[in-house]
Symmetry: C2
Amino acid sequence: MNPFLALAFAEADAAASRGEVPVGAVVVRNQVVLAQAGNRVEELADPTAHAEILALRAAAAAVGEPRLVGCDLWVTLEPCPMCAAAISLARIRRLHFSAYDPKGGGVDHGPRVFDHPTCNHRPEVVGGLEEQMGGQLLKAFFRDKR
Amino acid sequence: MNPFLALAFAEADAAASRGEVPVGAVVVRNQVVLAQAGNRVEELADPTAHAEILALRAAAAAVGEPRLVGCDLWVTLEPCPMCAAAISLARIRRLHFSAYDPKGGGVDHGPRVFDHPTCNHRPEVVGGLEEQMGGQLLKAFFRDKR
């Protein structure tokens, strides 16, 4: 498995162990990890604290500006519409994600955030990486919740 | 003018004076202001630091949970797709905004984030309040920038 995706999966596992929906994200530039994060919505009492948002914010803080030119994002799940739009605003170059999310995704499902003429920046998108693993992680989490 | 919208406009003016795109947002519950914020993308080097996101996060921190049940949001501009999706995730009851934003809006334009079956929570939406004022604020800002 790609090492950055593996790191994102480790963040997702850590999120699950905190009782959060297991999603992890990693921002990479020039093969260097700028930021990595897992979902912390419940812990932080923050509706926007998805893994992607936390990773984008941390990476932007690290480089000192709001546009992450030349950066790539690795995520364990298809980003939701909020995260997809944030990815566009942050000028992420390439988005890689594992499982597709027909219920909550906003890239290839629902509002398909990048597929509108008003979307100012559309990253390259590579979806479905290690898809089984990404899907099982979520399924196991929600099965244990019931 | 509604006093909460007036407060949002004051936040937008303050954002403009900081050199930020002038947008302001206010979260209200039971006629009490829980949080107010203006855009701080450049200042914070945070691509997600739109007025709505900052106000939602502050309100959620104030109530100590990620879902803002029974809360309303007042914004000076039609929210972008990121903010619209965050508003849905935060369970905002009613969204009021001033100017429509055909280029960047995500509620009545572009991906129309609330208008998909996968959108789990659709707030009531009231758009176009004091629309001229909302539109002029943005126009003046971008005119001065050129």
